[in-house]
């Protein structure tokens, strides 16, 4: 049963070869068995899942099943879920039970999905390793060949990616602010897409950096991602930045092929320290696409080198403001104090972890009087140039191919003493976030130590269809079949 992809499970459910309840029970059993080792879920919701599965079975029996009827999913604990604790991986929201359902999860429920539980993440989605969660780190189901050292699953959607990779869910919701879907997808050997900014509603998702945050799916295959995104996406009048455009048939786009497409190869992504095997995989990916009928051309994105620095000004600036609401007054955790100011200080000092505090301080600094022009304003100007780079490149090409991350997964605890080194994880994913364009990570190979590596397909704004077409072609060519040692049904 665990061998089924989401698309496969959907077919089996419709053919009544398996019931939603059986599928859900199997996954709940797997969570019970493996979650203590992986810590991929903060809050499993077995009772809710079984109720939803029973409802899906009833709908399937009536022939009124939605497109995701009975499909068990992990929900990143950044999506507010009505009546289910939503922590954002933070102590400050540990007691928070939202009375409302985020638009994206409501869309999934509308289509019949089953929610297995809330997936672990870096605190407030700030991190690339899942080490900053107040609920403990997520352990990757992968290990290096001959080395049992626990690895990070990537972040911030590390719980979602680990759950999908270890088969503790058929798919998962995730969010991406600077790479938080694509980098963990690459580390965990699964597919994940950050759609165009505005494609999915942000309403009901705990905000990190509003101009960058975007929801997307993680799943075992590109097609599974396409199916999930089709349900998650859509215009939402409750989010002013949500795009009012129709949602195309993403799954159909996976079958388009790449014949005649022009694929750009941005030369600035060829960094000096890039491991040779990642460089080799990248070249392999280009060769696969050429073999499938695409043409590959060199392009230049000259402002790429400023992407990371710019991101680490804009994202903390927005975060410092977005996180001001966690003051212990109306919801979440409160630490008492002698007066109002002391209560604020105690609440926030005890409620936020070190990385969140660091980013709030950076953000407050870059917005403060006397520094705003030098940091925030200049970063916004560079951001416009980064977008212009992509816009100009897309005059000549239909999509771009790059590595997803500059390395494979690393051991837990590594890079913790050097935030800048940690931030370098996002070097290939951040420019697309800054530009709002869609980016898909596809598992394409293993490194020498048996760890998955992903390739990233970037596309034009609102042209996820081409991104899916290219990603699916890579997936077919790569035939990535490796599985982590730790997995359900293994």
């Amino acid at each position: 049963m665990f061998a089924l992809t989401l698309a496969g499970a959907r077919a089996a459910l419709r053919a009544r070869q398996v019931s939603a309840r059986e599928l859900t029970d199997a996954y709940l059993g797997a969570i019970e068995a493996l979650n203590p080792r992986l810590n991929a879920y903060i809050t499993p919701t077995p009772e809710l899942a079984r109720r939803q599965a029973d409802a899906a079975d009833a709908a399937l029996a009536r022939g009124e099943a939605g497109p995701l009827a009975g499909i068990p999913l992990a929900i990143k604990d950044l999506f507010c879920t009505a009546g289910v604790r939503t922590t954002a991986g933070s102590r400050i929201l540990a007691p928070f039970v939202p009375p409302y359902e985020s638009t994206v999860t409501a869309n999934l429920l509308r289509d019949g999905a089953v929610f297995l539980g809330k997936a672990n993440l870096d605190e407030f989605a700030m991190g690339s390793s899942n080490m900053t969660s107040a609920f403990g780190p997520v352990t990757s189901p992968w290990t290096r060949t001959g080395d049992a050292a626990p690895l990070v699953p990537g972040g911030s959607s590390g719980g979602s990616a680990a759950a999908v990779a270890a088969r503790l869910a058929l798919g998962a919701t995730a969010t991406d602010t600077g790479g938080s879907i694509r980098q963990p997808a690459s580390f965990c050997g699964v597919a994940g897409i950050k759609p165009t900014y505005g494609r999915c509603s942000r309403w009901g998702i705990v905000a990190f950096a509003s101009s960058l945050d975007q929801a997307g799916p993680l799943a075992r295959t590109v097609e599974d991602c396409a199916i999930l995104l089709g349900s998650m996406a859509g215009h939402d009048p409750k989010d002013s930045t949500s795009a009012d455009r129709p949602v195309p048939d993403f799954a159909a786009a996976c079958r388009r092929g790449v014949r005649g497409l022009r694929i750009g190869v941005p030369r600035e992504y060829r960094s000096d320290g890039m491991p040779p095997e990642i460089e080799a995989l990248w070249q392999q990916g280009l060769a696969w696409l050429r073999a499938a009928g695409a043409e590959t051309v060199d392009v230049s994105l000259p402002h790429t080198k400023y992407g990371l620095a710019t991101y680490y000004i804009v994202a903390p600036a927005e975060a410092s403001s977005n996180l001001a609401r966690y003051d212990g007054v109306r919801f979440g955790a409160r630490s008492e104090g002698g007066d109002l100011l002391e209560m604020y200080e105690n609440t926030r000092a005890e409620g936020f972890g070190a990385e969140v505090r660091r980013r709030i301080l950076i953000g407050t600094y870059v917005l403060s009087a006397g520094y705003y022009d030098a940091y925030y304003l200049r970063a916004q100007k560079v951001r416009a140039l980064i977008l212009r780079d992509f816009t100009e490149a897309f005059h000549n090409v239909d999509a771009l191919l790059t590595p997803t991350a500059p390395s494979a997964a690393f051991p837990q605890g590594e890079r913790m003493d050097d935030p800048v080194k940690m931030y370098l994880n996002d070097v290939f994913t951040v420019p697309a976030s800054m530009s709002g364009i869609p980016g898909l990570s596809v598992p394409a190979g293993l490194d020498a130590r048996g760890l998955p590596l992903g390739l990233q397909v970037l596309g034009k704004p609102f042209d996820e269809e081409t991104v899916f077409a290219v990603g699916a072609a890579l997936e077919r060519a790569a035939g990535f079949a490796a599985l982590p040692a730790l997995r359900a049904g293994g």
Partner: protein
């Protein structure tokens, strides 16, 4: 004569600029669907957006945007087709998100102008620098619990317009006239109810003083002044204070102050330790606000006639003085009432009745013109009765008072109380004869050349006739009888 403060070192000129916060009339808040009614139970008009729950997002209320644009048009101001919302960051419990959404760098309305009218009949043009939209904060209640403050978020997120004037005002009277005129325009437009007691209109008053011909000196801001009278008193008190500081050899420090209306002085509000760095930046939850030029044009075409235009028309069409016209247009309801009375009648008479007896009656009874005991139709009809000779002018006063008291139509009152003017010459002659018979000595004096006594006889005859005699016929009859 320009307003100056005479100090020991000479005359000081006062420079005043006003920032008026006007609550926009709208059923729901600026970025949420919660209601805005005044006086509701605490925390009953609060959405998750207003309370800044995780994941909640603002969505601009189109009605509020239209109201701001209409106000801008009413101030003859430039409408910025592209404006933007910024976040003003600071922590306070009545500000749930930790930031106020406001238009700092790119307001929706640019430069405009307000014509103010002064008691001596002169007018001045006062520059409006800008108008922007922003959210109101909630209310902190410090008197509900011994050790804690209570927060009411009903007002949190309610739409405000901040209307900033140039430092063009030069006296307390001008500052008062500015707020009065702005309030009048807002009420005409229906964009703010102008209710200062309920806080729908509040003024921050910026005051500095200088010697004639000098550049501006340091100003102080007196916050949250909530009546026109207090605006004028605050200007005066603050200006006097600053003059005293300068003349004592001191320096006025730029600071925020509060007006203590009980003691008639201003006092400092915040100390330097609390100086805020608001860290303004564009709100990433909202794209720039882009207005359609045709939509703005539609709003412009649908604007009501505003006080200045109405005043000019009243002067032109009804031949009113600038002063009378100004009084009549200050409130739209008054202007409407006046026009209903004046149309097809003697406009000057109508104006006199409205600004005289009607206003006096309303003042006495504490009622507004909207629920006046004498309707415009009744007052008009009464003027008709005077014009057609049914009643005389003196009786009209009694009829008016009776209408105010009973709410009855003038015809009914004239009928019931027998107030119809007497034009029967027989009755008049009889009354004249009776008066002359009763005052033989006065008759002799008159005939001896004391002409002034004629008025006395008229009064006596009218009294004899209980006021109802036709004044012309009474005069005629007396003249004949006395010669």
């Amino acid at each position: 004569m320009a307003y100056v403060i005479e100090g020991s070192t000479g005359a000081w000129e006062v420079v005043i600029g006003l920032e008026v916060h006007a609550q926009i009339i709208s059923a729901s808040k600026l970025f949420s669907g919660a209601a805005t009614a005044f006086g509701a139970e605490p925390n009953t008009q609060v959405s998750f957006v207003d309370a800044a729950f995780p994941g909640m997002l603002p969505v601009i209320n189109r009605v509020c945007v239209a109201q701001a644009v209409r106000t801008g048009l009413g101030l003859r101001a430039h409408i910025n087709l592209v404006s933007r919302f910024d976040r003003k960051n600071y922590f306070y419990p009545d500000l749930p998100p930790g930031y106020q959404i406001s238009q700092f760098a790119h307001p929706i309305v640019g430069a405009g102008v307000i014509e103010i009218e002064l008691a001596d009949g002169s007018t001045r043009s006062i520059g409006v620098t800008r108008l922007h939209m922003e959210q109101d904060a909630g209310k902190s209640l410090h008197d509900q619990h011994p050790g804690k403050s209570c927060i009411d978020l009903n007002r949190a997120g309610v739409a405000l317009m901040e209307i900033v004037s140039e430092p063009d005002l030069r006296s307390p009277e001008e500052a008062g006239a500015y707020v009065r005129k702005l309030r009048s325009i807002l009420r005409y437009l229906g964009t703010c109810d102008g209710n200062m007691e309920e806080g729908s209109l509040r003024a921050d008053v910026n005051v500095s003083v200088r010697k004639h011909g000098e550049p501006y000196r340091t100003r102080c801001e007196v916050k949250n002044v909530n009546s026109i009278r207090f605006v004028m008193l605050a200007v005066e008190a603050e200006a006097m204070r600053q003059v005293a500081v300068w003349e004592a050899g001191g320096t006025v420090q730029q600071e925020t102050r509060l007006f203590d209306s009980g003691r008639g002085v201003t006092r400092p509000m915040r100390s330097k330790e609390d100086a805020h760095d608001y860290r303004y930046f564009p709100d990433p939850d909202l794209f720039p606000l882009v207005l359609d030029e045709d939509w703005v044009e539609q709003l412009r075409r649908a604007l009501p006639e505003l006080p200045d235009e109405k005043r000019a028309r009243f002067m032109r069409d009804y031949g009113l003085s600038a002063y009378d016209a100004g009084v009549l247009v200050a409130e739209q309801a008054t202007a409407l009432y006046f026009e209903a009375v004046a149309r097809g009648r003697d406009a000057k008479q109508a104006a006199n009745w409205v600004t005289g007896d009607l206003f006096a009656t309303l003042n006495r009874s504490g009622r507004t013109i909207e629920d006046s005991p004498v309707s415009a139709a009744s007052l008009g009809r009464m003027l008709d009765l005077v014009a057609d000779g049914t009643i005389n002018g003196r009786i009209a006063k009694d009829v008016f008072d009776a209408m105010a008291e009973t709410g009855l139509a003038p015809d009914a009152i004239v009928q019931q109380r027998g107030l119809r003017q007497v034009t029967d010459t027989g009755a008049i002659d009889a009354a004249v004869a009776a008066v002359l018979a009763a005052n033989p000595d006065k008759v002799a004096e008159f005939r001896g050349g004391k002409d002034k006594l004629f008025g006395f006889f008229v009064g006596q005859v009218m009294r004899e006739m209980r006021g109802k005699g036709n004044p012309g016929l009474v005069n005629e009859a007396l003249k004949q009888a006395l010669t």
